[in-house]
């Protein structure tokens, strides 16, 4: 019986030591998934998620501090991809409705080019003293331009629904 106890104890110590060595030897300095998630995010550092840029958002998502659905420019497809990547279930119910995009109000735009400089995706075109225009296909709706406009001439408005963007709604739930 003593032999058995001794053997088991020895085995425990030996394996424990091995585990300790392995933990030291194969220590991962930084979480590689942060970089991968950052690469998936839009990269415009728009701050709509409430974080300081996309890499901060990636860290926060991995730690579970913010949901994967917090990125409006990414939309549902990104949220789903992130959910799959991070192995979390995704509740997309809050992400319905068309994305909001920036629109320049032409009457009040003074052509100051401040918004051009602020835009993280170069989605606004224009020249000094000319009315600026937002190219909708490049706008992520981050709102950086809204904050810098001195005449409050930029608004985020939902993308108008057209025959091209219209989709069949999900059928109403069944009686059960």
């Amino acid at each position: 019986m003593y032999a058995a106890i001794a053997v088991l104890a020895l085995l425990g110590f030996a394996l424990g030591y091995l585990l300790g060595v392995a933990a030291n030897k194969f220590k991962v300095e930084s979480n590689p998934i942060v970089d991968e998630v950052t690469a998936m995010l839009p990269g415009s550092n728009c701050g709509q998620c409430g974080q300081l840029g996309c890499s901060a958002a990636a860290e926060a998502m991995i730690e579970g501090r913010i949901p994967v659905t917090c990125c409006p420019p990414g939309g549902k497809s990104l949220a789903e991809e992130l959910g799959r990547k991070l192995g979390v279930s995704v509740d997309l119910s809050g992400m319905d409705g068309p994305p909001k995009l920036a629109v320049v109000r032409e009457e009040t735009c003074i052509g100051c080019v401040k918004c051009l400089r602020a835009c993280p995706t170069d989605a606004i075109v224009g020249a000094p003293k000319q009315i600026h225009v937002v190219m909708q296909n490049a706008c992520t709706g981050c709102g950086a331009c809204v904050d810098v406009c001195p005449t409050w001439s930029i608004e985020l408005t939902p993308e108008p629904e057209t025959l091209r963007t219209w989709r069949w709604p999900k059928p109403l739930p069944v009686a059960a």
Partner: protein, 365 residues
């Protein structure tokens, strides 16, 4: 009226035409198909059978109502869809006709509460609720569940009257041993274990004609193979079921029993015996074909049917229980999700493995 345009219509996708089928109609058709065998059971086993049938049906409905209440679902809609009645009906048909009242009550509650509502109600259950209840009863109350009475046709003097029937159902069968006996499957199994072969044990107990008609001891609605076959044909013609499951199940039993009977008639019963004894016909046309718990693809249905047939034969021939239909169906029920997952129909323009067809590939023309 024609001058003012209609206001915005509901956003509904097609089709805007319907076959006018409904769940209630499907269930009603199955009940109609069961009617001949049921009425025969009432006639053959008299008032006690009618009482037990009624009690079982009411208990099944009560179980369903309790389940719906607990789940917060609309009672009227689901109680009237016919599925609970059908479950109770099938369960009653598989019970010994003179079984005491509480067998029906316990069975009925088990069927809908444990067999169906716990899974989420209609369409969600993994196992056939009637068979689940029957097996639970058989294992829990083996004595009551194997007391078979021979036919006491209601039109003859031997039949118990209305009051006698009440007494049988609610306080037990008087002179149990003189009226009840084993089923033919039980008899054959017992004799085999005693070393007596089928050629000596069956004569005098087994008569193919009587067994086909159903004038023998057995469950309330299982005995009349001919009437059940008639009901099955009704189901096939009304397209409630397809031929795949019954044909595969009966076919595999016939094949297996024919081969083994040919090799050793002492040990293995012949195909007709297997078809007409016990719950084979009811099982093949009404139990195994239960939509909720059987595969939906045609190939899957064939595999399911063959699985049921082989298991019935194996359990009857080698198992501890003399009858195996309920067990076989339940076991195959468990395999249904797997069968449906792997045996899908081939998609148009794709190969079986899901890859697109080759461009040049085409059938002979």
């Amino acid at each position: 009226m024609s001058s003012n345009p209609m206001t915005t219509a509901p956003l509904i996708s097609g089709p805007h035409a319907h076959s006018e089928e409904s769940v209630a109609k499907v269930m009603a058709t199955v009940m109609v198909a069961l009617l001949p065998a049921t009425l025969f059971g009432f006639w053959a086993y008299g008032w006690p059978a009618i009482f037990l049938f009624t009690i079982t049906l009411l208990s099944t409905l009560a179980g369903e109502a309790i389940g719906l209440q607990l789940a917060g679902k609309p009672q009227r809609l689901f109680l009237l869809d016919g599925s609970a009645i059908l479950t109770g009906w099938l369960l009653a048909l598989s019970l010994p006709p003179w079984a005491p009242w509480w067998v029906g009550v316990v069975g009925g509650l088990l069927a809908t509460l444990i067999g169906k509502q716990i899974f989420g109600g209609i369409g969600q259950n993994l196992f056939n609720p009637a068979m689940l209840a029957r097996v639970a009863l058989l294992i829990s109350f083996p004595v009551e569940m194997t007391q078979w009475v021979g036919p006491h046709p209601i039109t003859t003097a031997a039949a118990p009257g209305f009051l006698d029937g009440l007494a049988i159902t609610f306080s037990g069968i008087p002179n149990v041993d003189s009226v009840t006996g084993a089923s033919i499957l039980g008899h054959a199994k017992t004799e085999l274990t005693r070393g007596i072969g089928l050629t000596s044990s069956l004569p005098g107990h087994y008569d193919a004609t009587a067994f086909s008609l159903g004038t023998v001891a057995g469950s309330m609605g299982e005995t009349s193979g001919v009437l059940l076959l008639l009901g099955g044909i009704v189901l096939l013609m009304r397209k409630v079921i397809t031929w795949h499951i019954p044909v595969a199940m009966l076919g595999s039993v016939i094949l297996l029993s024919a081969i083994f009977h040919h090799v050793n008639p002492e040990r293995f019963a012949d195909p007709l015996f297997h078809l007409m004894a016990g719950g084979m016909m009811l099982g093949a046309f009404f139990i195994a074909t239960d939509m909720v718990t059987s595969p939906t693809g045609r190939i899957g249905q064939l595999v399911f049917g063959i699985g049921c047939g082989v298991l019935v034969w194996v359990i009857r021939t080698f198992g501890a229980f003399p009858e195996g239909v309920a067990f076989a169906v339940l076991l195959m029920n468990a395999a249904t999700p797997l069968i449906d997952h792997y045996l899908r129909p081939r998609i148009y323009g794709r190969r079986r493995d899901g890859r697109p067809l080759e461009l040049a590939e085409r059938k002979e023309s």
